[in-house]
């Protein structure tokens, strides 16, 4: 099973950004504007196969590391939110390594870290609850301004479910993806799952069989 690598140049990356990333220009502080614009375009794009350019975002974080006066917390929030739903779980951490304690104390970033905690531990119910907390005073959710976030997230959760489960109660899926029954049934139909009463059967995985790896002589 191969997943598009976060490090291969995405087809949607414009040439000027690519040049920037492979050159000494990446250290030039005036390029933060270019990279921030690029991030905004990524956030506006709801198509999750083409809207995350990790290398470009890491370059932006590095510029912030070298020029802390240019640091924009909102930009960081969006970069982290995008990394949160990336198919490769290590992406989020790679972004974190370029930050500092100070930055992490910012309210929205701290909240993202906490959300990530629940997501990583597959505590999906808790995640949805905390993310869209009705008691939250902030008017915007911490993942605001990111097109396709919910869908990207659901795709991630579904991938985990299909990897782990062979049969799972319908209600459990509803809780995990935060959708009502009808929406889940629609999802099941789309993915070709068999629904039997209140139990969903996921496609049989052929790898789950005891096998002995022998060498070819």
């Amino acid at each position: 099973m191969s997943v598009p690598s976060s490090f291969v140049r995405p087809t949607t990356r414009p040439d000027e950004i690519h040049r920037l990333l492979t050159d000494v220009e990446r250290y030039n502080p005036s390029n933060t504007v270019l990279l921030e614009d690029y991030l905004a375009r990524q956030c506006a794009n709801p198509d999750s196969t083409s809207n995350h350019d990790l290398m470009a975002n890491l370059a932006l974080l590095k510029l912030y590391q070298f020029n802390p006066e240019m640091l924009d917390h909102d930009v960081i929030r969006r970069i982290l939110a995008k990394a949160l739903i990336s198919a490769i779980p290590a992406d989020f951490n790679l972004c974190l390594y370029l930050l500092t304690d100070e930055v992490c104390k910012d309210a929205s970033i701290a909240k993202l870290l906490a959300l990530r905690e629940s997501l990583e531990r597959a505590q999906f119910v808790k995640f949805w609850r905390d993310m869209y907390d009705p008691e939250d005073e902030e008017e915007e959710s911490v993942v605001d301004g990111i097109a396709g976030f919910d869908n990207g997230l659901r795709r991630l959760i579904l991938a985990e479910i299909t990897a782990t489960y062979q049969k799972i109660p319908l209600a459990a899926v509803q809780d995990m993806v935060n959708l009502d029954e009808e929406a889940v049934l629609r999802l099941a139909k789309e993915n070709g799952w068999a629904v039997d009463g209140s139990v969903i059967s996921l496609p049989v995985k052929s790898e789950v069989k005891a096998s002995v790896i022998n060498e070819n002589v």
Partner: protein, 558 residues
């Protein structure tokens, strides 16, 4: 920036020197009363240099001028350490201005001498802030000469020396960053000096040097052309075709990898190695053992931080096997110098293998068990203790992290600690990754198990267990390098041999085992028998030849 009032006990002499101008003992035109004393002290200083050292310096100077790289290698790798040990084990080498008198003030020689002189202070003594500043200036002089002269310099140095220059340059940079971040230990004058001279040892200047060396030598194009089998001399350019520039450019690539890791940018570190073929036994980094070890250390470390434990393990095992096998063929001090990194890598390997169990080569496995067997057990048991052990190993083995900017001198209470931050971020990953070995040890024992049973074994709620099983699934898939030139690429593959599926509340477990490998054993033994047969036949032939007796036709073999 002149430190006339700066009290510095470590300086061997007591002369009030102004940076960049070293009094030449022979030319004393503008002498006034103060300088008289200066002159006397200078003469005394020159006299105090032991005969052996004077001879050594003479040879060094001559070899440098004539470009005798082989002799220089002997001077540098044998004589210099021996003399350091004998005369200067606890002191610094003679001051550069005294040595100037011995070599007729040869500017280039003095720059190189000063590099050695400061390097010695850093390794045996404690460098003062003034020493740090001076050393930086010296490096600027050196790199200016190499990069900004009107054309390539004629200088030629042995590879080990070139590597040591780059290595030490980065080490002093890191040492400086660490020193200035300890605001509460700095004296007021020091803080004032640091504020005034923010360009000294600045991150940008260090990066500038490394990138300039890389660009000047066209090393990236050279490596690419070499891989494709083209004519390297064509793309090398005027500077890059000379070994000094080529090797400095190459070592700067490795140096950059180190700097990126120190700043926490692991992806850029691996990206920088594009073109450096890892696994190629004739790659340039194999020429200097310390460089070879360094490359693999930083690659392995970067993979470890990225959560690619299998790749990290592979890198560490590769270099550790190499070091063990070639130890007897390497020079003593090279082995010693690499030793610290080797120990650190065993520690990191212990962490990687405990977090993501894989089979490793027998020898390495034995060494690992001997050094860190206890720690590995503790990690696999999980819980808080596991994290403590991981922290301990990590802090022993990680590079010294730095921040690119000077601290805020006005706010000494705000302490930025990149070391602690990186550790904490890594630990969060590790804590989750620990789910794999702990669950695996239970799942290994069964082919089917109920959720309730397992949750009671692990003492957690069934709902929580289901979450953990999902985490296990996610974590047992890693990106694994496919051996190409791009170290960042790779395929997502399962990294453990244990797989399972959940049906409602029942877990079905499948384990894939590696079958007995008989091919290798048969091949080896078949070869042995073959050798035996051949040697017997040869013995028979020689008996026949020596006997000289008439033989029956069928034993006379051609």
């Amino acid at each position: 920036m002149y430190q006339e009032t700066y009290d510095d006990e470590e300086f061997v002499g007591n002369i009030d020197v102004v940076a960049d101008s070293y009094a030449n003992v022979d030319e004393i035109e503008d002498v006034d009363v103060d300088d008289e004393e200066l002159l006397m002290q200078a003469q005394a200083g020159v006299q105090s240099i032991p005969e052996q050292v004077r001879t050594f310096l003479g040879y060094l100077h001559r070899n440098l001028q004539n470009g005798n790289v082989n002799d220089l290698t002997y001077n540098y790798e044998n004589q210099f350490p021996k003399l350091s040990e004998k005369f200067y084990a606890k002191a610094s080498w003679p001051e550069p201005q005294y040595v100037a008198a011995l070599v007729n003030d040869d500017g280039l020689f003095l720059i190189l001498y000063r590099e050695l002189y400061y390097r010695h202070i850093y390794s045996r003594l404690h460098p003062s802030l003034e020493v740090r500043f001076r050393s930086f200036e010296n490096y600027c002089d050196l790199f200016n000469h190499i990069l900004n002269s009107d054309g390539p310099t004629d200088l030629e140095l042995p590879n080990q020396w070139l590597w040591d220059i780059v290595d030490e340059f980065i080490y002093q940079f890191q040492s400086f960053c660490t020193h200035r971040s300890r605001l509460n230990k700095l004296a007021e004058e020091e803080v004032a000096l640091l504020k005034e001279n923010s360009q000294v040892w600045s991150t940008y200047s260090v990066l500038n040097v490394l990138y300039s060396l890389i660009q000047k030598s066209n090393i990236a194009e050279q490596l690419r052309t070499q891989q494709q089998g083209g004519d390297v001399a064509e793309v090398a350019g005027e500077f890059g075709v000379r070994p000094l520039y080529k090797m400095l450019g190459y070592f700067s690539i490795i140096g950059l990898v180190r700097v990126h890791c120190m700043l926490g940018d692991y992806t850029l570190a691996l990206q920088t190695l594009e073109g450096v073929e890892l696994g190629n036994s004739r790659a340039l980094y194999t020429r200097v053992m310390a460089c070879h070890v360094s490359v693999y250390y930083y690659v392995g470390f970067a993979y470890l931080m990225m959560g690619r434990y299998a790749d990290a393990t592979q890198a560490f095992v590769h270099i550790l096997t190499f070091v063990t096998r070639t130890k007897q063929y390497q020079q003593r001090q090279q082995v010693d110098a690499a030793n610290k990194k080797v120990e650190q890598m065993y520690a990191l390997l212990a962490v990687a293998v405990s977090l993501s169990p894989v089979r490793v080569d027998e020898n390495i496995h034995a060494q690992l068990r001997e050094k860190y067997g206890d720690q590995q057990h503790k990690i696999q048991r999980g819980g808080e203790e596991a994290l403590d052990v991981i922290s301990e190993l990590y802090l022993f083995a990680c590079p010294k992290f730095i921040t690119p900017n000077p601290p805020n001198y006005e706010l000494p209470e705000v302490v930025v600690e990149p070391q602690a931050y990186q550790l904490r971020t890594f630990l969060r990953e590790a804590r989750l990754q620990l789910v794999v070995p702990t669950l695996r040890s239970f799942l290994k024992l069964y082919t089917t198990m109920g959720i309730d049973r397992l949750s009671s074994f692990l003492e957690m709620e069934p709902a929580e267990l289901k979450n953990q099983l999902m985490v296990y699934k996610q974590r047992c898939r890693q990106v694994k390098w496919d051996g190409g030139s791009d170290l960042l690429s790779g395929e997502l593959v399962p990294s453990t041999d244990l797989d399972f599926a959940l049906e409602m509340d029942m877990i079905f477990i499948a384990e894939s085992r590696v079958g007995r490998r008989y091919a290798d054993w048969f091949i080896r033994n078949a070869n042995k028998v073959q050798d035996l047969v051949v040697s017997l036949e040869n013995m028979q032939k020689s008996v026949v030849a020596n006997a000289g007796k008439p033989q029956t036709p069928d034993t006379v073999v051609a």
